[in-house]
Amino acid sequence: MDLNITNYGVVEILGIEIWITETLVNTWLISGLLIIFAIIVRIALKNFKPVPGGFQNAVEAIVETFDNFSVGALGEKLNYISPWYFTVFLYILLSALGSIFGFRAPTADFSTTFALAFATFVLMIVMGFKHKKDNYLKSFFQPYVVFFPINIMGELAKPVSLSFRLFGNMLSGTILLSLYYSLSPLLLQIGIPAVLHGIFDIFFGVLQTYIFVIISLMYIKGAAD
């Protein structure tokens, strides 16, 4: 039972050593799937009909659902960042559902979740400066000047908790399932793991993607409004 991330090889680019790990290859696979789907949608919907039918209806329904969700969390003025969060939502969802097929989820690696949470952190600061201009920096000194370190620590705790929440949930699901598969005889591996996959991959996976996206949107609304 090997819980390490397998390293497929080391590539040297311009003097920097890059390790091609399982996480990286799985990320490319998920990105490839999303890109192919986007290309298919682009080609199949060259002319948008005013009254949609079939495929166009389904795609419009998905995009509109997420748009309503993000307008509810952010408000109309800030809604222009919702395409980024739609991509993040699809990425985390596909990585959680991919571990049904024996595929180690890239979000079970702290590098991936830290990158996503750091993106939210940077976006939060940029939106704060852009929409509140000088008041954003002044808000760190509210209500009293001595609160500055506490406010800074509160801001730094946000990406840490976001990344660890997603990482911990995905990693514990991966470990429990690999423990189950390595400790049970072949007969018990036929129908019963479906229940475990249903709980850990589907239910917790979908819940954690919803939580990640809505908490990120709440942080950005708090910083920019």
């Binding site: 819980l3 908790s161 660890f164 929440r165 990482f167 911990g168 949930n169 990693l171 514990s172 470990i175 819940l207 954690q208 919803y210 939580i211 809505i214 908490i215």
Partner: protein, 90 residues
């Protein structure tokens, strides 16, 4: 007892103690769910809003329980002190 055995035994005991914070997590989450059920019974029209907020509350209060589980997993499976010890012993 050999040194490596003592280090590994200490890691296992520490992992067991780290999981004790699951006790408080259970009570916190039960309280969130209980309040959500009571307020849904009191005002069924707001049911969807309350359900969404309940899930967010459950996930936020689960975070510290996950921290304990993560620490236990790291102690058991990827313990840096044990690896360093094995490297030192040759």
């Amino acid at each position: 007892m050999s040194d490596l055995a003592i280090v590994m035994a200490a890691a296992q005991i520490a992992a067991g103690i780290a999981l004790l914070n699951g006790l408080f997590t259970t009570f916190g989450q039960a309280r969130v769910a209980a309040q959500a059920i009571e307020s849904m019974a009191r005002q069924p029209e707001a049911g969807d809003d309350i359900r969404g907020t309940m899930f967010i509350g459950l996930a936020m209060s689960e975070t510290s329980g996950i921290y304990g589980l993560l620490l236990a997993i790291i102690l058991l499976f990827a313990n840096p002190l044990v690896n360093q010890f094995i490297e030192l012993m040759g």
